[in-house]
């Protein structure tokens, strides 16, 4: 009989409110070891709140979050040692110097990889006596990433690592993350505003929507099943198809087009459109190639 691995993260029936505002209701998902999870959602859907709940900085109204089998608001020091946590805004003890930050963090983690830290930090070409608070956002992100990589955690949780980073630093971050995951049985749970960055990185995605609805799926399955169909939309046409059991979402596009998004096969979408009185193009309905960002917009809506 195969031994079932404990999930890295297990969220069961999670419900959370801010005052009267419902953030999630009955949220459930699992994060298996060795996978890279992208948590996607628009601003304000509760991505950072979910990370705070997972790390025990908030207690849920009801339901449970477990990390390596520990209840999230009672994580043992041993479990926290296994989790590398990047806080939004590349939070750091910015009054420390490059060398002091390494000296401080290294005391807490037995698997500390000093070489990883200095590999990243040496690229900054700054003296080790340079204070973190005197660095740019990109430079600080590199120090923080170095500290996380040196910690050699089993689970890396990154809360919007892209914030304030230019394309070069984002790419560097992604390269290091990719190498980190290849290095062993590592699990990554990442949120980002720059959705296209995650396309090359993540295995699974969790889409969070307002009100707490959630879709957890493999990225390749999602990109295969979720399709975009583009139809002409003359300037005088005001009515658009209405989402139904087949049509997930409809968005008006620039250049006199509208896009229909669906998880259903082409025939079913064509039939649904015709039932709503929309004529199909003469060439028939064809799926348009999509990036993850296109699919994200299609799934969650533009606004």
């Amino acid at each position: 009989m195969a031994i079932q691995e404990t999930p890295v993260i297990e969220v069961r029936n999670l419900t959370h409110f801010y005052g009267q505002r419902r953030i999630y209701e009955d949220l459930n998902f699992l994060v298996e070891p060795g996978r890279i999870f992208g948590l996607l959602g628009k601003n304000g859907v509760g991505k950072t709140t979910l990370i705070k709940l997972l790390m025990g900085f908030l207690r849920p109204v009801s339901g449970t979050c477990q990390v390596y089998g520990d209840t999230s608001h009672a994580l043992s020091p041993a479990t926290r040692r296994r989790v590398g946590l990047l806080f939004e805004g590349h939070l750091a003890h910015d009054y420390l110097t490059i060398a002091q930050a390494e000296a401080f963090q290294s005391r807490w983690y037995p698997k500390w990889r000093r070489d990883r830290y200095y590999d990243l930090v040496d690229r900054l070409a700054l003296p080790y006596s340079h204070k973190i608070k005197n660095m740019s956002e990109g430079q600080r992100s590199q120090v923080v990433l170095g500290l996380l990589m040196a910690q050699d955690p089993d689970l890396l949780i990154l809360d919007d690592y892209t914030m304030g980073l230019d394309a070069g630093y984002r790419r560097l971050f992604l390269d290091y993350l990719t190498d980190f995951v290849r290095d062993g049985q590592k699990t990554v749970f990442v949120t980002s505003h720059v959705v296209q960055d995650l396309e090359q990185l993540v295995d699974d995605v969790i889409f969070l929507q307002r009100g707490g609805t959630v879709l957890q799926t493999g990225l390749s399955a999602f990109m295969k099943d979720f399709c975009q169909y583009r139809l002409p939309c003359p300037p005088d046409q005001t009515a658009l198809p209405t989402p139904d059991a087949v049509i997930h979402n409809v968005e008006r596009e620039a250049g006199q087009y509208f896009s229909v998004y669906s998880f259903h096969p082409q025939d079913a979408v064509a039939s649904a459109l015709q039932q709503q009185g929309f004529a199909l193009p003469e060439t028939g309905l064809k799926a348009v190639p999509m990036s993850l960002e296109d699919a994200f917009i299609g799934f969650t809506g533009k606004y």
Binding site: K52, M55, F57, V83, L91, A92, H93, Y95, F104, W108
Partner: protein
Amino acid sequence: MRALFLKEWVKLRPVWGLLLVANGLLMLYLWIDMRHHFRVEHAEMLYYQANRIGRLFYSDMRYAPLLTGLLLALAQFWPEVTKGRLRLSLHLPVGLATLTLTYLTIGLGGLAVLLLLEALALYGIIALYFPIEFANSALVTASAWILAGFVAYLGVTMIVLEPGRGRKLFYSVIVGGLVWLCHLAQHYGQAAPLLPGLIALTLLLIPAVFLPVFRFRYGGRS
């Protein structure tokens, strides 16, 4: 814990140094002021004022320990809370109680050194011009003010770390009352009967700090 001590020392060093200089300058001023009194007035007149009228020649330092404790607590915890850095420490693989105690030990230790130096300087200045009994009495009188420094440190720590506004207000009232009690005595020796009670109340603030820390850790719930 050595790592935490080192980190906190790096953070507090500039403010601690400034407070040391500021308190040093205040004590220097007290000494110059005292020397001036003894130059322009007869010693017996000053002894009379101190002994019979109860004039405190060192009352200018009355609120210095309070300000020292308050500023040290703000320097230690205000940026941690407003910049969110406290969450970094709370994620370290160490128990919350141990972490809290370490932070408090560092802060209270730094404050104790500053206030001890201040008390020693006061004792030295008074002993330089007055009989030793006056110096002993000055220490007792200043002890209540020094306790106010510890109350301010612990109280401000509680208020800053507490996530709920209502509780912040409640703590402010309690701490304000304790600080008022510490400054109640107007003449030398008056504070002596209050000291054991004040010490006990101040010590009670140490475990009381744990509640806002736990509430901060778990997002505002006890």
